[in-house]
C-alpha cells in the first residue's frame, strides 16, 4: 500500500467507483434475467387467458349461429328477414376472423361488430342470452367516475 501513495487518491476513488459499477452490472444482469423469465411467464399467462376468452366468446357466437341456421333450414320463416340478415352477417364476420393471426388489427373491430349484431338479434327475438364473459359496456368500469 505504501509504495502506491502517488496515485492513492485516485485509486481509492477508482476502486470505490468500480465496486459500485461492478455491483450495478451484476445486479442489472440478474434483474434482467429474472425480469425476462417472469415477463415471459406473465406474457404466456396473459396470452393463454386472453386467447381462451376470445376463443370462448367466438365459440359461443358460433354455437348460437349454428343453432339458428339449423332452425332456419327446418323452418325458413321462423325469423324475420332482418334477423336472418343479421345472422348471416354474424356468420360472415366469424368466418373472416383471423384466428391464426392474433396481432391482426381487425380482430377488435370484428369482435365489436359481432357483439353489436348479437345484442340486436337478442333484442329483436326478445330473448335473454347472456354470454358470461362479455365485458359490460359500462357498469363496473363506469362506476369509478
Amino acid at each position: 500500500m505504501s509504495s502506491q501513495t502517488v496515485n492513492s487518491t485516485e485509486d481509492i476513488f477508482d476502486s470505490s467507483l468500480n465496486l459500485e459499477d461492478t455491483h450495478y452490472k451484476e445486479g442489472y444482469s440478474e434483474g434482467y434475467t429474472d425480469g425476462l423469465n417472469s415477463g415471459k411467464d406473465e406474457g404466456n399467462q396473459v396470452g393463454l387467458k386472453k386467447g381462451f376468452e376470445v376463443g370462448e366468446e367466438l365459440g359461443f357466437y358460433r354455437g348460437c349461429i349454428d343453432v339458428w341456421n339449423a332452425a332456419i333450414l327446418v323452418e325458413p320463416t321462423c325469423f324475420s328477414s332482418r334477423v336472418q340478415k343479421s345472422i348471416k352477417q354474424m356468420d360472415e364476420l366469424l368466418c373472416k376472423y383471423p384466428f391464426s393471426d392474433p396481432e391482426n388489427e381487425s380482430t377488435t373491430d370484428i369482435i365489436d361488430s359481432l357483439r353489436l349484431k348479437f345484442r340486436a338479434i337478442c333484442a329483436t327475438l326478445n330473448i335473454r342470452l347472456e354470454y358470461d364473459g362479455y365485458p359490460k359496456a359500462s357498469g363496473i368500469d363506469n362506476s369509478r367516475f
Binding site: R82, L116, A120, A123, T124, R128, K136, A137, S138
Partner: protein, 345 residues
C-alpha cells in the same frame, strides 16, 4: 311573428302537483290544444310513474291517468308517437315501455329490452315508424315499429364514449341526433345500400356535457344546451344552400351569460321561440334577431323567468296549439304550465 317591439312575459297558468319525486320530463300530445281539442300533457318522474294531464273546458289541467306498476325505477323520458296513439317511456330499469292510448286508458303493449342499464331518452321519428333510445351504456338503439305492437331492433350504435343523455330525430328527414356526457353531438343516418346506420358527423364545440337538442319547425336549424352554460345554434349547411342531402351541420351562434348553472333542456317553438330550462331554477326565452343578417343568425333574450321553480328546471316543452303554452318540469316535484303573454303598455 314579430317580437321586436313589445315586451313579453311568461305567466304561470297552473302548477300541477301529484308526483312524489322529481319530475324529469314533459311531453305534449301532438295536435292537442288546437281547434277545440283539449291540450294533453304527459309527465314522468323519479316516483316511477307517468301522469297524463288534460285541460278541461274552463282551461284548467287535471290528472287524467297515472301510468304505474310497470317501471321499477325512475322514468327519465317520455315521447308521444306522431299520431298520439302511443306513448313511449324510457326508464332507469333498463327498459322502454310502449303504452297504447285507448280512450282515457293507457295499456302497456310492449317493453323494449336491450340496454345494459339506465335508459335516458326516447324519440319517435316524424312518421312514427322508428324509435330511438339511448342510455348509460353509451349506446344508441334504433327500433322499427311493426304491426301488432312488435318492435324490431334495427341497429345498435356505438360511438359515444360516455353516457348518451338524449336522442332526437330531425323533424323533416330520418336523421338521428344524439348528445352525450362526452361533450359531443353525433349525427346518424342510414346507409341506403347496406341498410346499416352510421355516424356521419360529430359536433364537438361544447366543453362539457351536452344535455339536450331540439329543432326548429322546418328541421334546418338545431339548438343544443350544455353543462358549459351555453346554448348553441347550428344550421344544416346543405339544406340552407338548397341541397337535399345530409351535408354537415355547422355551429353558427352561441348564447352565453343567461344561465349561471347547467342548462338541462331547450325547445324550439313552432313560431321560432327557443325556451331553455336550467339548474338555476330559471327559464329563458330567445328569438332570432332580425337586425343583423350579415354575420349569420343572431339571437336575443326575449324574456327571463327567474325562480320559475323552487329547484332545477329539468325540461321545457312548447305546446304546438293555438296558445303559446309552455310546460316545465322540475326537481321540486311539480309541473308548471305557462303562457307567453304580451305586456300591455
Amino acid at each position: 311573428m314579430n317580437f321586436d317591439d313589445d315586451d313579453f312575459e311568461l305567466r304561470e297558468i297552473q302548477r300541477l302537483e301529484g308526483h312524489t319525486d322529481r319530475v324529469w320530463s314533459v311531453a305534449w300530445k301532438p295536435d292537442t290544444g288546437i281547434n277545440g281539442v283539449p291540450a294533453v300533457l304527459a309527465s314522468c318522474s323519479g316516483d316511477k310513474t307517468v301522469r297524463i294531464w288534460e285541460q278541461n273546458s274552463i282551461g284548467s289541467f287535471q290528472c287524467q291517468a297515472v301510468l304505474e306498476e310497470t317501471h321499477t325505477r325512475t322514468v327519465r323520458s317520455c315521447a308521444w308517437s306522431p299520431s298520439g296513439k302511443y306513448l313511449a317511456t324510457a326508464s332507469f330499469d333498463a327498459t322502454t315501455a310502449i303504452w297504447e292510448n285507448v280512450g282515457v286508458d293507457f295499456e302497456c303493449v310492449s317493453s323494449l329490452e336491450g340496454h345494459d342499464n339506465e335508459v335516458k331518452s326516447v324519440s319517435w321519428n316524424a312518421s312514427g315508424t322508428l324509435l330511438a333510445t339511448s342510455g348509460r351504456d353509451k349506446s344508441v338503439w334504433i327500433w322499427e315499429a311493426l304491426p301488432g305492437n312488435e318492435f324490431d331492433c334495427v341497429s345498435v350504435l356505438q360511438g359515444h364514449t360516455q353516457d348518451v343523455k338524449m336522442v332526437q330525430w330531425n323533424p323533416s328527414m330520418d336523421t338521428l341526433f344524439s348528445c352525450s356526457y362526452d361533450n359531443t353531438i353525433k349525427v346518424w343516418v342510414e346507409d341506403s345500400d347496406s341498410e346499416d346506420w352510421h355516424c356521419i358527423q360529430t359536433l364537438g364545440e361544447s366543453t362539457s356535457t351536452v344535455w339536450s337538442v331540439a329543432f326548429n319547425a322546418s328541421g334546418d336549424k338545431m339548438v343544443s344546451c350544455s353543462d358549459d352554460l351555453t346554448v348553441k345554434i347550428w344550421i344544416d349547411v346543405g339544406r340552407m344552400q338548397g341541397l337535399h342531402k345530409n351535408a354537415p351541420w355547422k355551429h353558427v351562434c352561441t348564447l352565453s351569460g343567461y344561465h349561471d348553472r347547467t342548462i338541462f333542456s331547450v325547445h324550439w317553438s313552432r313560431e321560432g321561440i327557443i325556451a331553455s330550462g336550467a339548474a338555476d331554477d330559471a327559464i329563458c326565452l330567445f328569438v332570432e334577431n332580425n337586425d343583423n343578417e350579415v354575420d349569420g343568425p343572431t339571437f336575443k333574450l326575449l324574456s327571463k323567468k327567474e325562480k320559475a321553480h323552487e329547484m332545477d328546471v329539468n325540461s321545457v316543452q312548447w305546446n304546438t296549439g293555438d296558445k303559446r303554452l309552455l310546460a316545465s318540469a322540475s326537481d321540486d316535484g311539480t309541473v308548471k304550465i305557462w303562457e307567453l303573454v304580451r305586456l300591455s303598455g
